[in-house]
């Protein structure tokens, strides 16, 4: 099946089986290995990408769903400099093994798009589809909350 889409700002035409998983296309065909696979069943959020700005699970998406879509992976999220969310993750110590991190950052981006000033509870709800086995989530919540504070200061 011929599919046209945008991946990290580049217009791309693909000829792939329509049922090929998006996570495999990204990782195996494009080398975009920042998108991780940890469950393959939509249960952990590690393969989160942004599709037309919204966070989606690339292990549950197939090629046909890419047609006409604007895809952002962690590699294309803020290619020239660190995004404030990424800076906050490093600053606040929200990263341990880092395998959940790309998905967590993109889930946070979606959350902050929908709720620019989330409370800690809203942050916890917002990332509750993304599993982390290392951190206990506290520093991830701290990181996202600090982005909110930075925005407030800016305003």
């Amino acid at each position: 099946m011929l599919i046209t889409c945008t991946i990290n700002g580049k217009r791309i035409t693909l000829d792939v089986p329509s049922d090929r998983r998006v996570v495999d296309i990204l990782r195996e065909d494009f080398g975009l290995t920042g998108t991780k696979e940890a469950c393959g069943a939509g249960e952990c959020g590690s393969c989160t990408i942004l599709v037309n700005g919204e966070s989606k699970l690339s292990c549950l998406m197939v090629a046909a769903q890419l047609d006409g879509a604007d895809i952002i992976t962690i590699e294309g999220f803020s290619p020239d400099e660190l995004h404030p969310i990424q800076e906050a993750f490093i600053e606040q110590g929200a990263i341990q093994c880092g395998f959940c991190t790309p998905g967590m950052v993109l889930a946070a981006a979606d959350l902050l798009r929908r709720i620019p000033h989330p409370s800690r509870e809203e942050i916890r709800a917002g990332i509750s589809g993304n599993l982390c086995r290392c951190t206990g989530y506290q520093k991830i919540v701290d990181a996202i909350a600090s982005v909110r504070l930075k925005q407030d200061n800016h305003e």
Binding site: I95, Q96, G98
Partner: protein
Amino acid sequence: MKHQEDKPAQIGESLKRADGFGKVTGTEKYAADLYPDNLVIGGVVRSPYPHARIRAIEFSSAAQVSGVIAVITHEHISGTNRVGLPERDQPILADDKVRYIGDPVVLVLAENKQVLREAMSLVQVEYEILPPVFDSDSALQEGAPVLHEGRDGGNLLFQADIKKGDIETGFSESAFILEETFYTPYQEHAYLETEVGVGRLTEDGILEITVSTQTPFRDGREVADALGFPQEKVRVIAPYLGGAFGGKDGITVQGLLGIGALYSGGRPVKIYTSREESFISSTKRHPAKVTIKMGCLPDGTLHALYCSLLFDTGAYAGLGTPVLIHGMNHASGVYRITHTEITGKAVYTNNPVSSAFRAFGIPQVIFGLEQVVDMLAQKAGIDPLTFRMMNAVHKGDYNGLGIFMSQSTGISSCLATLADHPLWKERDSWIESAPPFRKRGVGIAANSSGMGYGPVIPDTAGAKIEILPDGRFRIYGGIVDMGQGNSSTSIHIASSILMQPPDRFELIQPDTHRCLPSGSASASRTTYTFGNALITAAEELKVRIFKKAGELYPHFNTDTLTLEPDRVLHTPDNSCVPLQEILLRMSESERTVTSTWTAPTNNQTFDIPGMVRILGFPNLIYSYAAHLARVEVNELTGQVTIDSYLACTDAGNIINPQVFEQQVQGAIAQGIGYALYEDFIVREGQVITKNFSTYILPTSLDIPDIISHAVSGYEETGPFGLKGMGELGVATPLPCIANAIANCTGCRLHQSPLTPERILTAVKERRC
């Protein structure tokens, strides 16, 4: 205190982790992320039976599928085909028998996943089904099916006793005595990166295995022996891991990658384990039955302890024996007890393999022990905190097992910090203000965690620092970073000694052909042992820099030189020279410094079997924790909510507070999962919980913000006074929360996890 950019790192300040950038941008390459050119995909046909003899393997039709590179069985393996430590009992590919559902039997190599799936479905294994055994007690009965025929001891993997004083006397002199039995289930590590790697045979005959592992150096030796391949030609590379927690402490896919690479025609072979395959085939925390009998004198002084441990190690030994011994090592908790007897057994069954998991046997023991301590305190009419403080070990004491506490021993400070905290002091008013249909309770628990390999196996690490042509420093890390941040702490240490900003340092992750052997990323030893080796290396490098400065500038007195960012300062006249100038004039040999350091050991003598000593008893150094949980139980649903959680930790002097907090918070989250949610179910050898929908990990909604206090301490043998603590926090939440639930419901739970069903049932039956 936070680190300032462009300044050398200081011990005790929070320094941003060096691995943050690569991980947050998705550019860091884990083993899972390697897709070299010309890649071959490997897949494993596994046993569907818990116990069976292999009669025949028919794979000719699989081998004929277009795109199949090779179909490999045990007959292709020319070495011992056995891995494991200390017991080499686990085949890379099953030969005579399969012993659990998931045992690897055939490895198929194919051009792509579709071909692989088809070929795997065509492999036919003819089995003679043997009677299985699924529980430890039955496995020890006379006439039980034997897993490893011809093995001395049959299904009993290991048994040992540790005794002190005379428990008969101890109990007869006790005023209050309790005996209770507790059960804990499997815990699945559930690292997000499953077992994965790439193997290849290079043109110059090196078998190169890049893999998600905690033990690259040990893997190299085991793979070589198992495959009959020269050890010096096996190279194991361990990039950053996507989590491990003990689950990659030893061989997972390494042997399969090795044999695959020998039959792939020189092409690289990748094996990626799906989540379901990982849950079925990977190791777990041992399910256990633990009986505790404990007695105290009328004044509350602990006097006698009997503890029996029965661990189900599954089909293969894994690290079952050292895990059991470490559990026994902690069976008297943080207390002085006059008379003790600890008896432990680890048993083979046809269940999934249990092996290392963060805190090695301690969680199973502490679940019972810390509840019985609470119950005994109540009997003696003493509050549980005072009771613990009365009985806690101090430096210079012998603990309940007779281990002399010669090093820093901060449990009393942990308990005192907890006692001073409002969460403890104001507990009564919080409990009383529970909303309708809610009950509130406060629980505490204490714990210790012995560090390192114990008295016999040398706990050694080798550090290497090299000055690069651009004047930067390269640190060769010998111990894997599975996420705990040790490689970043290496930069922290070297930066603080060489007085150069952290960005002047780069790291090489463990590689058996480039780095010095440094042992496993386990036993809370990583920063302690490697850090000490690195300090010596960095200090030596500093001496060489000053010596070279003295040679180049004869008026410099080397005793009065100091390092500053980018320069060497001659203090008497405040003159300085650029560091770069000195570094680049150092000879090739002067530019590389190595240092090997071996941890001190506890050489006390005990009347115990030699293997107990060899596999780790006793430790010299212990870290300590006292935790408090405030919980609310919904009386209608049995649901438990953790309102607040306090952790007071003695881990010596902290090098990087942020990394310390990461370990505290992360370990407690895993401990809360183990306490409340994680129930890995195996029925008749069959894994029932095969995914994250049925095996429930805590999410961001389930873990409260942890309040963490590090008590001040200094371990004289540690790097800058530090003690290891990566495992410490994981064991304490289960008994802490169980004690809090008992505090609010009046009921004791003897089986974990502490699910709403179990709580409601206990309340209904008033099983208190």
